[in-house]
Every structure is written in C-alpha cells, then in structure tokens.
Symmetry: C2
Subunit: 296 residues, 2 copies
Amino acid sequence: MTKSLNTLMNVEDYKTLVDRYDVFLFDCDGVIWLGSKVIPGAKETIEYLKSQGKKLIFVTNNSSVSRAKYAEKFQKFNIKVEEQDIFSSAYATAVYLKDVISFDMSKYVYPIGGSGITDELRAMGVKVLEPHFPTIKNVDDVQGIVPDPSVGAVVVGLDVEINYSKLAFAHINITKSNALFIATNDDSTLPVQGLTFPGAGSLLSVLINSTSESPVVMGKPNQIMFDCISKANNLDLSRTLMIGDRLDTDIEFGTRAGVDTLLVFTGVTDRELAASSPISFTHSIQSLGDISKLAQ
Amino acid sequence: MTKSLNTLMNVEDYKTLVDRYDVFLFDCDGVIWLGSKVIPGAKETIEYLKSQGKKLIFVTNNSSVSRAKYAEKFQKFNIKVEEQDIFSSAYATAVYLKDVISFDMSKYVYPIGGSGITDELRAMGVKVLEPHFPTIKNVDDVQGIVPDPSVGAVVVGLDVEINYSKLAFAHINITKSNALFIATNDDSTLPVQGLTFPGAGSLLSVLINSTSESPVVMGKPNQIMFDCISKANNLDLSRTLMIGDRLDTDIEFGTRAGVDTLLVFTGVTDRELAASSPISFTHSIQSLGDISKLAQ
C-alpha cells in the first residue's frame, strides 16, 4: 500500500501553505531540533512565520521539565519563544485538573514524575504530595505503604527515579482512596541518542495492569490536550496546522482534532514509512527549515 | 450462570479422592497457609497423604526466595518438606534455561528480582550478571546505560527494589543484544495482608510495552512450569491432582496440563465466585484441612 505524500516542493508551495493557516502547532523534537542539534533553517522559519503575524504554539509530550525550563531549551538554540506559547503534557494536566474537571483543591495530587509535573501543578495552585516512604528491601516491607485519603489524584509521567514505593503508593490510592488516575502521556519509548528506553507509557502500564483501571491520558495523540490548547487560544480549526515528525502521535493528534497536518522527515518517520502507513496527513515537507527560503 | 461445585462433603468423599490420585500438586498461599497463619489441619493432611505413600509437590509462583528459603517457611509451621519437593517459578526458570532450551552457558543472565532468582540460577550453573549502574537523576543520565553483548537472557520476577536503570538495561539488552526475554510469573498483583500491590506481571508490562516483545512466562497457569515438573517427576497425568485457591492461576494450570483439579475456599476464591466463573474444576472442598479427618 502506497499513497501520495503531498510533498511541498518549492517556494510557491511553501507560500501557499503559509497563507492557508493562521495558527501553527509544532512538535519540537524531530521538527525544530533533534536531541541537542537544531534542524537547519528551523529558527529562520519560526522567525519568518512570526514576522507574518502567525500564532505559533509548541506542543510537547515531555513532562520532565516545566514550560519555563523548556523555554530555556529554545533560548539555547537562540530561538525566542515565550513560556505561554509552550503547551506541555504536564501543563495540560494542570489545566485539565483546574479548569476542565474542577478538581477538589483541598485534595492532594500524588505525582510520579519529575519537577516538570510538580512545578506546573503548583503554579496552578494544586497541592502536591511528596510522601516519605519506608525503605523497601523485601516483600514484607510493602506493608509500610498505606492509602492516604487526602490523595485526590495520581498523575503519572516519565520518572527516571521510579521505585516500588512510588508504584505501590500510586496503586493503593487508585484502588483504595478512589484517586483519579491521570497520565501526562503514554509514549511507550523514550528516544535518547538514537536508542530507545522505556517511556512514560511503559511505566504507566504497571498501574494499568495492577489496578485494572484506565487512566485519562493528556498528551498527544489524545484529544484532551488539543481541547485545552483550543480553549486557551480560541482556535479556528480550519486555519490551524499541526506540524510533526511522528505519525502515531503528532499527525494522529491533528487528525483526531480535525485540523490539517504537515509531516516532516527530519525525525523518526522516513518517506517509505509515511507511504506505507495507514495514517494520513495533509502535507509533507522534507524539513521545517525549507520554509525559511521564503524569508530570503 | 451457576454450576455445581462438586463439593467433597464427608470422609467417604475424602477417601475416594485420596485413593484416586498418586501425586498431589499444591499451591501454598491460600491452601496450606494464609500469609503468616497456617490453615487448620493442613499440616495433618500433608502428613496423612505422605503416610499413604503419596507424592506431594509444592508449586509456587513466588520467585522472591530460593526453594531452600521457602522450605524454611514450611519448617516454621512445623511441616516437613524437602527442598526437592518444592517447585518455584524461579527454579522452573533455571530448569528451563539449562534443560529445556540448552541456554549458552558462556552467556550471562540479567535478572530483575530478588535472591530467589539469583540463587536458583547459580545453583544450576548459570552465570548471573550484577552490573553497577550510573546514578540516574535525569533523562540525560540514561545515556550511561548501554547494551552488553554477553547478556544472553533477561529474567524478570517481582523486584521491590526495581528502578529505572534495571528496566532500561533489561530493555536495551532485549532490543539490542538479542537477549531472551523470560518472566518467572505474570501475576498482576501481590497480595499483602489483605491489600494488593503491583505484582511481577505488572512490572513485566513495562518491558512488554517498551520492547513490543512477548516474554516466555514460566509460572502458573503456563504450561512450561508443568512440563518441567512432569519431566522431573515422570508424572502419570491421570493419577495427578492440582490443588489451589485461585481459579485463574492454580485451577487453570491444572486444567491446561490435563490433570484433575481441587479448589479450596480458604484463599481468594469463595463459593459465589467459583459458581459464576467460566473456569471449571474437578472437585472443591472447604479446606485442605478437612481431609485430615481421615487420619483420625
């Protein structure tokens, strides 16, 4: 099975694309940078789009750092991006709790994850529980982990400091304290320097398996994060474009939300994979950097 | 949907049962003891069956302690059981590697789990890798975890000292070193003092999710452990009875292997659950202890 890649080839194509949309949603890794290297021309494309009065929003499943810290990554590449133009899965979780489901703010959230989650929750006025656990050396020590009725929600993201106490405490509050079960994202793998490691979604599967409950998942490709972005920015879907390098997260995210999509080939997807995948996209382009030719 | 529970009611029933079989396979927790308390009469039943020349084999998915340590648990209840009559999922794993698949003994096994796994593997002459990992505080530190081509198999059991380095090292050797992916058992929960916590199968789901590979699972209800027991004891299936308290592990284990089964109601299954479950069993009895009436 192959299909047309609707590839944008020249400056006329790029011009038509830019004129067609007012709001550009960007995935970052694989689109603007790849690991620690900026994609050539990406900075210039972003500056050009801004100069044309376009609204740019940066959408990431990365919940390990706060939006403020994430903005510093743009600064490192000399790209000027405001914190409020970044939408991370951790921030979406905070917006979801506060604005979408009116979480009982007298309750605590127990987070599995890094400071990205904790910082975003606290910035939204959500109380975060940081329990001290007993040392768990053998199965009998697990008795020291008990439910805490003040826990109103468990939020799970990538946590490279994961341990059994954290998983046990999350499990027991989902099953015994009736805590909400929320995940920042469910990426099964974490790409690091060309290798993959277990991602947030794989850690999450421990609790899905042990509790037999399904979490509400915020990150791409799920609709909830799009709804949060759309509400905050009053999006006109017909004039919005989602740009990404992953078919099953970025492109699927745009498609489910009903906006046009642009696939780039500077990340995890090559032309062969794009042609054989059942996932459709509106346009493709070799690199986001190509659009910078319009600025010349 | 209800069904007959084929409940054994009196000493005539117990006598017929004992005469009918030569080999009795026992699950332990919920059958012989419940947590730290022995089931009344269980010790006497075991002694009676031995006095009648029956072969008794104790089958446990618990891989956290070695068979030698597990035998000490019987001693605590004053029940005499030999190490060679205990068949644990960790021991089954060692037998499987050495005798069933002729594992390349020049390679290492990387275990996630406690000393139960390590001790059983070493006793079988299998080399066990105990790597020292770099401290992982943030995502960038994950780069310090690299594949080791000397790893021939990853064995996953319950590990209450689980951490990201262990999961990452297991993941990367399954995906990059072509290591075999084996699990001692896949129990989703760990019952502790009337509560449940994440079990070996839930920790295992991290790697199933991240690697997209399916492990070979040793423990009940899987056939592999039964085949190991059957081979080691030259079982006559028509004269073998599997006794347990769990329908989806113990009873299913016996049924898949083609032997008769006896369900007891001293563990996780009550009569209501047994009557409504689609899982069938040959006989049921309130308690293993009831059979001790034959000794009086």
